[in-house]
């Protein structure tokens, strides 16, 4: 019997909250809610930095950033697991139709251990090494030692981008050693003086060395001005044209402020 009055009381409170929140949203100051971002591990640290900055401005907003890989990002955005999917390559005809939001660009560095005397290769030499046509450092001006080729696993966004941008129609040799993360590649290459690998320029640190390609040093500047030849796009993906909080976050990422964060994290701004 006492249900009826208490229920109407709850409805009243809810209506009040709703009205209040409408007023607040109308003011455009107090954003709240949550957004999930997930996918490419290359985009992940950048997405996290952007999310942190966004949440600092809007303390009632919760943004979760997950990894999982480009394929997971595409799948998640398509199926609704993620509000925003992250991809480190162009979408192809095999992928579902999603709305792409260019977030940044990223150079792919060809890396060796710092002790390797080879400082640069031509793109053709890189193709020969990763296809298995050249197997000794001697053939590219290095010491007489077999080359240990490290690549990411099949399906990785970085590997797919490397295949498209560098290898073209050539296949990566089946003798290549596989690592399942950018960190794994860096660690393996840092620890093996005969190793060669590839990874995002944003991930470079002093434990490894990025080779000049066709005489152009691999830096953020050369990647930005277009002289460094191996550069790929990084995307946020949404199922539909974004609205509400998702749109606010993507707009923030593409704003001058967001693009400054892109640059600060070692990626290339696109605006």
């Amino acid at each position: 019997m006492s249900i009826r009055p208490s229920r109407s009381w709850i409805i009243l409170v809810l209506a009040g909250v709703l009205a209040l929140s409408l007023v607040l949203v109308g003011c455009g100051k107090q954003l709240s809610g949550s957004v999930s971002v997930g996918g490419s591990t290359t985009v992940q640290p950048l997405a996290q930095a952007l999310a942190d900055a966004f949440q600092q401005k809007h303390t009632d907003v919760g943004i979760t950033v997950a990894g999982g890989g480009t394929a997971a990002g595409i799948k998640g955005a398509n199926e609704g697991t993620f509000d925003i999917g992250a991809a480190s390559r162009d979408l192809t005809t095999g992928d579902p139709a999603l709305v792409t939001h260019l977030l940044a660009k990223d150079g792919i560095g060809i890396i060796t251990s710092p002790g390797n005397p080879v400082t640069g290769l031509t793109k053709a030499q890189v193709v020969s090494i990763f296809s298995g046509a050249i197997t000794n450092w001697r053939d590219v001006g290095g010491p007489n030692h077999a080359i240990d080729v490290f690549v990411r696993e099949s399906g990785s966004g970085t590997r797919t981008a490397f295949q498209e941008l560098v290898m073209g129609s050539e296949n990566i040799t089946s003798s290549a050693l596989q690592q399942t993360s950018s960190g794994g590649i860096r660690q393996a290459v840092a620890g093996d003086p005969n190793a060669i690998g590839f990874e995002s320029l944003a991930y470079l640190d002093s434990s490894i060395k990025a080779l000049d390609i066709d005489g152009v040093p691999a830096t953020q500047e050369t990647a930005k001005d277009g002289t460094y030849p191996i550069v790929r796009p990084l995307y946020f993906l949404t199922k539909e044209q974004p609205t509400g909080l998702v749109k606010d976050f993507i707009d923030f990422c593409q704003s001058v402020e967001g693009q400054q964060i892109v640059e600060d994290n070692g990626y290339i701004a696109v605006k």
């Binding site: 999982g68 890989g69 480009t70 394929a71 997971a72 595409i74 799948k75 095999g94 077999a146 240990d148 696993e153 099949s154 399906g155 990785s156 966004g157 797919t160 295949q163 296949n171 990566i172 089946s174 003798s175 290549a176 050693l177 596989q178 690592q179 399942t180 393996a188 620890g191 093996d192 005969n194 190793a195």
Partner: protein, 289 residues
Amino acid sequence: MRARYLIDRSSRTLLLVCAFLTLVVLAAIAVYTFMFALPAIREVGLWHFLFGKVWRPESGLYGILPMIVGSVVVTLGALILAVPLGIGCAILLAEVAPQRVRQFLRPAVELLVGIPSVVYGLVGLVIVVPLVRRIEGPGLSVAAGIIVLAVMILPTIVSISEDSIRAVPKSHKEGALALGATHWQTIWRVLLPSARSGIVASVVLGMGRAIGEAMAMIMVLGMAPRIPSSLFSPASTLAGMIAAEAPEASGVHRSALFAMSVVLFLLIIVINGVALAIMRRGSRAQGIS
């Protein structure tokens, strides 16, 4: 009275439901794995899938022979290393070592069983891989995989073998010694043959663990999808490849990984079936004697 009866009945039903649920989960896993595997088998063809030598998902080539060979080679290699060592250690623990030593050694071996495989992989990556690299090649290799796997399955072999040596009736040993056999002759001619079924079962269980190991293999084997040409060249295994590529796979690639799981599933069912059969035969034989 009635309440007790009800509790009794309902708890029995509850337990039945639990048992049934386990079966349902097992069936669901089997059915789903087979279902997801079908598209790849249909697309690639069973023959090309099982005996194709090239695994290159980006070109639509899905041959898993390199991974099958890799799994078999690494597992056999690990057994060759671990079986003599393991049985030797079991004999030591069961027969030779004084009580004090056994008190330390036995818990240590049992502790080794519980160490997560990723830890074995990490230690292998930091210690074994650089050592192998010093001999030849990139270090991430069949040799490193064999060494790490051997250490991983050693505790299984030691603890089960020791138990089965201890389970041999005392009268057997006493009879042999009374006939004038030395301690070593007793071990070799009486204890080991009597404990044979348990020892074989321990080896088969170790084999099952080795063939299903993914994490440690990803870390030390190099995961190159080709048939290894030497101990020092990289290789890949079924379990390792599934774990390495599943997170980023889609479409036929994903389905092919499920088909690989089916192959692994069947392999492990066969191995466990053999182990069960051997253990059952062993216990029956002991019952007769």
